[in-house]
């Protein structure tokens, strides 16, 4: 019988033997998270799943005055062997912890490293500019899937905050909502999760353990599971 919470259905098989890293660090310090990216492959009649590792994501956070800088490297096999290299600057935001102020994404495929899509983003007075051309209005805080694990780590009060996400620092999506935290139980362990919904977003869950470490991020067919956490 599948007693896995809905949030973790796609990695039900992985949960059987998952051991979180031993280290604990405060996510508002200089630190680095390393996730393995899993792709759901098959669900068995007992509800357990097979998942296929398809990449890694490393997110390094450095405290800055009134905010933070993040350095991100994600490598994953989709239609191509894709590499995302990004730098993101955030400012503290009382509504969502941190809100993006600037970023640079350098995306390419491993087979064609000379063909790069570079997106420079800036937020000025509630306007998001991408490559100095495209402008999106955003009068809500701005985040993305690489920043939210940190921004939500110290969030304990119920949330119903509208925000804008820059998915993969490429796709601007307004009218996003965060719900939670909600408590869930896995193998006798209490976890808490935030649910992210909105335009163009199948529910995403950010799942934290009792030490407030974001150990799982589940999309739909894709999931991240925490493999390392360290101070830097």
């Amino acid at each position: 019988m599948n007693i896995i919470p809905a949030e973790l259905n796609a990695i039900a098989g992985q949960l059987q033997n998952y051991d979180a890293p031993e280290q604990t660090v405060q996510l508002d310090s200089n630190c680095k998270l390393t996730y393995e990216i899993l792709q759901w492959a098959k669900t068995h009649p007992d509800g357990l799943t097979d998942d296929r590792p398809i990449g890694t994501v490393e997110i390094s956070r450095y405290n800055k005055e009134n905010g933070a800088e993040y350095q991100i490297v994600e490598k994953r096999n989709g239609g191509g062997r894709e590499i995302y290299e990004a730098t993101v600057t955030t400012a503290r935001d009382e509504r969502i912890g941190e809100s993006i102020t600037n970023w640079k994404l350098d995306w390419y495929q491993a087979e064609t490293p000379d063909k790069r899509l570079i997106i420079n983003g800036t937020v000025r007075e509630s306007t998001i500019e991408m490559n100095a051309d495209k402008k999106h209005l955003a009068d809500t805080p701005i985040s993305c899937q690489w920043i939210l694990p940190f921004a939500l780590a110290n969030q304990t009060a119920p949330m119903d905050e509208a925000f804008t996400t820059i998915d993969e620092l490429t796709y601007c999506k307004t009218d996003q909502l965060l719900h939670g935290p909600a408590q869930i139980e896995v193998r006798g362990q209490s976890l808490f999760s935030f649910r992210h919904t909105g335009y163009g977003t199948l529910p995403i869950h950010y799942v934290f353990d009792s030490q407030r470490r974001p150990i799982f991020v589940t999309f739909t067919l894709l999931s991240w599971i925490l493999r390392d956490i360290e101070s830097i």
Partner: protein
């Protein structure tokens, strides 16, 4: 004016009304809406065959399924047929570029296009990269003197196949009670046409399960909408939007709970009808064509026309849409549209739709009075004229197409050519029902 660039963006398995500009308040598609606001919507557009591979084979050859041989996904395409990439390369100066899902059985896309991003079986892993690769290509080649034909195969909302159990259930079942904004069930939800092969997958679903399924379909549509936005913005930011013909459509629709079905492969509107929008800022008038019946094979004919290429060879059913886009006054056009798959052939006109199954079961809908297709009139008296008219159109069709006659391991294509098409030629499509 120089030859326009042509960007052909196709989604996979998108219900034709899963677009906010068409009045659907359960989905938000600002980027599709932007194309619609700038271009021409064809609101009576139909897949040549509402399954992935056959529909795509028709897009790239201009031929119907019975002609190119891909009657359903496993059947390989006639290897001798040229496809759009090969044709434009041979006859024009276009750079032919492909990003994302291809899925034409039996043909390697790399033999037809320059591939800039390969396909992956899941949209969640493919589409963002396919759109980014397209954007990268557009930006890099914005100043080229040669035009490009860029085909972008976005896979979603096709991932809905994996949340309804085609390959084992995945997703977040059990989550539904936490969501407060699930869409309502469609008006024909209780007119059940669920086929046996779907019963074990979705027959046990609660109404909330169905509503969650539809919710997910809409979120996937929105995801590809954002990706379309990246491509559009890149064209605009690089000064190409006025010299680029953008064609947006889907290979087929999606059950989405209509008739309590998921997926595709049938001829009720939810699976057969597709969105189709063509835009080019400053050249194509904004408008909506809701009176002419469009087939998927008309898209390659239109692309050849705009690329100043000769029509794809021996196409029998395809017509360029350019006269509509240039607002010609004297357009002669088909009075009905025909689709076919491995088990049936369908025809619809401005009021009626006939679906003739090879098994002998037939369906007749009066779409003017029953747009949700809740009442099968096949056995009702008083429709002999409609049946006769449809049988006549189908006979003309069967006498016009050039059926695939190559190797046929399963015999299915031989059967369709020798039994279905011969039967239609004799005007026998409706004979059993008319006489019964």
């Amino acid at each position: 004016m120089s030859q326009p660039n042509i960007v052909f963006i196709h989604t996979d398995q998108q219900h034709h009304l899963a677009i906010s500009a068409y009045g659907n308040s359960d989905v938000s598609t600002p980027n599709m809406d932007r194309l619609i606001a700038e271009g021409m919507s064809f609101r009576q557009s139909y897949s040549a065959n509402p399954v992935c591979c056959p529909a795509r084979a028709s897009w790239y050859t201009g031929r119907m399924s019975v002609e190119h041989g891909v009657i359903s996904n496993p059947f390989p395409i006639d290897p001798n047929l040229p496809d759009l990439g090969q044709w434009l390369t041979a006859h024009t100066d276009y750079n032919c570029i492909y990003s994302g899902k291809w899925h034409v059985t039996g043909r390697d896309v790399a033999n037809s296009f320059d591939v800039i991003y390969d396909r992956h079986p899941y949209g969640e892993l493919q589409d963002s990269g396919a759109a980014r690769a397209a954007a990268q290509y557009i930006a890099e080649h914005a100043n080229d003197t040669r035009p490009f034909f860029l085909s972008v195969g976005l896979l979603n909302p096709h991932d809905c196949c994996y949340v309804c159990g085609v390959n084992g259930p995945v997703g977040k079942y059990g989550l539904e009670p936490q969501l407060s904004d699930l869409p309502d069930l469609p008006g024909n939800f209780d007119s059940v046409l669920m086929p046996p092969n779907q019963k074990h997958r979705v027959g046990h679903w609660s109404e909330t399960d169905w509503r969650y399924y539809i919710y997910q379909c809409y979120r996937m549509v929105e995801t590809v909408d954002a990706q379309i936005g990246l491509i559009y913005d890149t064209l605009e930011n690089n000064g190409l939007i006025e010299n680029t013909l953008i064609i947006f459509t889907a290979d087929h629709g999606e059950g989405s709970g209509h008739h309590r079905r998921v997926l595709k492969g049938f001829f009720e509107e939810e699976a057969w009808a597709v969105p189709l929008v063509i835009s080019q800022r400053g050249s194509i008038p904004n408008g909506q064509n809701d009176s002419h019946f469009i087939s998927g094979v008309d898209i390659p004919a239109t692309i050849c026309d705009y690329a100043s290429a000769p029509p794809l060879p021996e196409t029998t059913y395809a017509n360029s849409l350019r006269p509509f886009l240039e607002e010609h006054d004297d357009i002669t056009w088909r009075e009905s549209v025909i689709g076919e798959n491995a088990s049936a052939i369908a025809i619809r006109d401005d009021q009626y739709k006939s679906i003739l199954y090879d098994s002998g079961q037939h369906t007749l809908y009066d779409l003017s009075n029953d747009p949700l297709e809740k009442h099968n009139l096949a056995s009702e008296p008083g429709f002999d004229d409609v049946k006769h008219k449809h049988a006549t159109h189908l006979a003309e069709y069967a006498n016009t197409v050039i059926p695939y006659s190559g190797p046929d391991k399963t015999g299915e294509r031989d059967r369709i050519r020798e039994e279905r098409m011969e039967n239609l030629k004799q005007g026998n499509g409706w004979t059993e029902e008319v006489g019964s």
